[in-house]
Subunit: 149 residues, 2 copies
DNA sequence: GAATAATACTTGCAAAATGCAAATAATAAA
DNA sequence: TTTATTATTTGCATTTTGCAAGTATTATTC
């Protein structure tokens, strides 16, 4: 059997580079981590600090500071949840939404570039495969989810 | 069209967690970065510092120090190339090889676990797709390779 | 219903990782 | 031989990290 780890390693590295090429948007210099935080806040519905930190697998104390800097940059808003004031609900500011949208566009442009090297059939196969893979990894909980702390 | 970035983001994150679950081997606590360095030294044939640093997209000064710590742990050996003594050729020590092998086994075990959720046909499709993807990303040089410094 | 525990998040601090600029050492070019 | 170029290392200042301990709020217990 061929070396499965090898092809995954290569893929992850490529995709990591793609991610790194991100993200200077309108004066703001957005780090990779910050772009991921913006992405997840945008995606999840009124998430708490813990939710996003867990999704990204970031230590909560580190995450707290990362969010603080995003708040300072006026990209993220933190509002206490009325029914439980311990919890901070995260949301994007107008500027945060704009930045997230620009980054999303840039990423999709790069991905389209990648897919341009394939024909329609290949493209569909690849997309289906990755979905399959994601589903499998989600099932294999002990290996591919947030490590406990 | 569906959101391509989304499925890639999810996949990368899952695989990142899988990687993170690595690597305490025989007393040594191997960080993710260190495990990647071991992997690449093992894979490439008598690589120089620059080669590995470029492969991993790590700044050469940072990489120099990472290698220093691996040398101190007695996992990596650095030998000047006879015909050009500026160049340090990297190799794994016996212990380094052992550790790399153990990590490789752990990773493959986890990947097999993931693939266990699929039937033979799906498995083959996924592997083929990732290879296709890797080839495409290698072609799309401006997006998915080492950023210049 | 006051005392205790648990939860969500923040801060202190010390260690580690980062990367630019400059240094060193070796080879190549002029 | 002098001057560039290349490969790697070190100085240093900044940033990132995560544990331990702290604050604030809610839940539980007696």
């Amino acid at each position: 059997m061929e070396n499965i780890r090898e092809i995954f390693q290569v893929m992850t590295r490529h995709f990591g580079f793609l991610n790194k090429n991100c993200c200077t948007v309108g004066g703001h210099d957005i780090s990779l981590i910050h772009s991921h935080i913006l992405y997840e806040i945008d995606k999840q519905h009124n998430p708490s600090m813990q939710q996003i930190a867990a999704t990204l697998g970031t230590d909560i104390t580190t995450f707290s500071r990362q969010v603080q800097s995003l708040v300072k940059m006026n990209l993220v808003k933190k509002s206490p949840l009325p029914e439980d004031k311990r919890i901070s609900v995260l949301s994007l500011t107008a500027e945060g939404k704009f930045i997230a949208a620009v980054i999303d566009e840039q990423m999709n442009t790069m991905l389209n570039e990648v897919f341009a090297n394939m024909n329609e059939f290949e493209r569909e196969t690849v997309v289906r495969s990755i979905k399959l893979l994601n589903a499998s990894m989600a099932k294999t909980s002990y290996c591919c989810t947030t490590p406990m702390r």
